[in-house]
Symmetry: C2
């Protein structure tokens, strides 16, 4: 049957019959996504780049997908979880640092003095992160991070932080990998912290986790080898730092990128500026009930310029409240909402 | 039949019958390797870590193998091929740099004045590498490297540099990958140079190539995006820099490492210091006829301390003249030697 021979309503039906199996397949692969423009755009993209006979076909080796972490794969409120880890570490390590009792911003952390802490700003935060993330070996740091992740609960949900991940994004990662994609994290978070849970939680191995880095030094102490973490920031993996680290670590331009804030803008731009079919996506936090609602005015995860560009260029904007049937793995399923 | 019931010669025969298929399989996978202690050690290691029921079993995700490049996967004489590229680039770029006619070490390069060039030492070399490797975008640099690789011949063999690779090592890489290993390059060479040929020549994708790095800067020039290479060395991937970069890029300790010089010593030590079964190997350049013979006294690829430690600790030392049936892919096969 030649397509031109089909009447207009018949042609529509014909097309529907052709794509129905694909839609059913997508519903299988992405069960926590509602039927939505976002889901359709993702599925259409994956179908196109994996269709060997199509004009948009991309060989497996070039199917690189990059994801921001905070606010894209897991929540980032009331503040980045890694900052909460650093604050908890200050308290745990305080007995070894009597000077912190009088020294800001540490004093503020120990006294739960939010106002002074907030006033210490980015510089204060970096002091706290440096004090808790460096001056130790990579092994010791990983143990510290694992201990905190295993023993701490999110203040609102009272669930472990590693359960504050987005079920629809876990499904998206798995769907992409099932279609030959290599999935990466490219995040402003410090890389070693993320590597302690990314494999178990996201199925992303350490070598596919890219982030902010401190300098290290190989140490041979009478035959005992270690890698020491130094108090020197070597890369801030935010904004333009993201395409830079993608080039440094992957050496190949992604064909899919997902973020949620202005810090992801350059990564999305870089991804879209390549040749051939590409997809850029933003998670838009519109769900005050099940997660949080914030964008242009937010301190953490501000989404302003990137939202304008996404709208302007027709990037995928995932309206969390509408597009996601379920937010967290621990949520009751959609039928009970 | 219980093993204890077998007589001593019978037991020997029994064992031989058990391992014969493995040896045959190894001969299939590593046809350019002579039967040798090196080959046996490699095969025994791979069999052990892939045997799900054995005590040395290593899950696929942890099968990380790292290889030095210069002198380990391809030749490095009469000097590192990347240095030859940099020298050729000085000549190609000279018309745009009239000042080089009078400025050392560039003047020496343009006049083929080996003596002055050698006297300029490491500092002179870094000037040449920086002048030819930075101040341009990553795309332009890759084009330059590809052009040179496609058009230049090795002074002795008159073959393209990308054919000066070791056939037995190509087989080893493929054998490891067939057994679930992820193969990496960890080299003192500049990373972007190696990435232009590693995938095609070694089957190693860009994201698995680690090396010396320059700083980069994401640039948005009226909407035209690029990554610019800056004249600032950010990592020297040699000696202790190798375990440091392994931790930074892979975040997981390799279980197999191969090198050929003292610059690989810390990478081999770091690999061997982990728990469980591991393999460290050295390519020993003993073959003046088919390749080169050098070790303790060599300017390029000096192998001295690492050779002592390898002997002391029983690491695999590949005696090129004895262990390799064939050196380069373009060599006639062994039967004609």
């Amino acid at each position: 049957m030649h397509l031109n021979a089909v009447s207009r309503p018949g042609r529509w039906l014909f097309t529907l019959l052709l794509i129905l199996p694909l839609l059913a397949q997508a519903a299988d692969a992405l069960p926590s996504w509602n039927a939505s423009a976002s889901r359709d755009a993702i599925v259409a993209f994956v179908e196109a780049v994996t269709d060997e006979k199509g004009k948009d076909y991309v060989p497996v080796a070039e199917r690189i997908a990059v994801f921001d972490n905070d606010g894209t794969l897991w929540s980032e409120q009331p503040m980045y979880f890694q900052v909460l880890f650093a604050l908890a570490e200050v308290k745990r390590l305080a007995p070894q640092h009597p000077e912190w009792k009088t020294q800001q911003p540490f004093k503020a952390v120990l006294e739960d003095d939010q106002k002074t802490l907030a006033a210490s700003g980015m510089q204060g935060l970096m002091q706290i992160v440096t004090a808790t993330h460096t001056g130790i070996s990579t092994d010791t740091f990983s143990q510290n991070a694992r201990r905190w992740l295993a023993s701490s609960k999110h203040p609102r949900s009272q669930k472990p932080y590693t359960e504050m991940v987005f079920q629809p994004m876990l499904e998206l990662l798995a769907y992409l990998r099932a279609n030959g994609f290599k999935t990466y994290i490219v995040s402003g978070g410090e890389v070693a912290f993320m590597r302690t849970f990314a494999e178990e939680v996201y199925g992303i191995p350490p070598e596919q986790v890219i982030g902010t880095t401190f300098a290290t030094r190989f140490q041979d102490q009478d035959g005992t080898l270690s890698i020491q973490r130094l108090a020197q920031l070597t890369h801030n993996d935010d904004g333009p730092g993201k395409p830079e680290s993608i080039e440094a670590y992957i050496g190949r331009r992604p064909i899919l990128a997902f973020g949620n804030s202005d810090g992801d803008l350059q990564m999305l731009q870089w991804t879209m500026a390549g040749e051939g079919r590409r997809l850029a996506g933003l998670v838009h936090h519109t769900d005050a009930q099940r997660e949080w609602a914030y964008d242009r005015q937010s301190q953490v995860g501000r989404l302003d310029k990137a939202l304008d560009q996404a709208r302007d260029k027709g990037w995928v904007i995932v309206d969390m409240a509408k597009a996601w049937k379920q937010v967290y793995p621990f949520d009751q399923d959609a039928s009970q909402h």
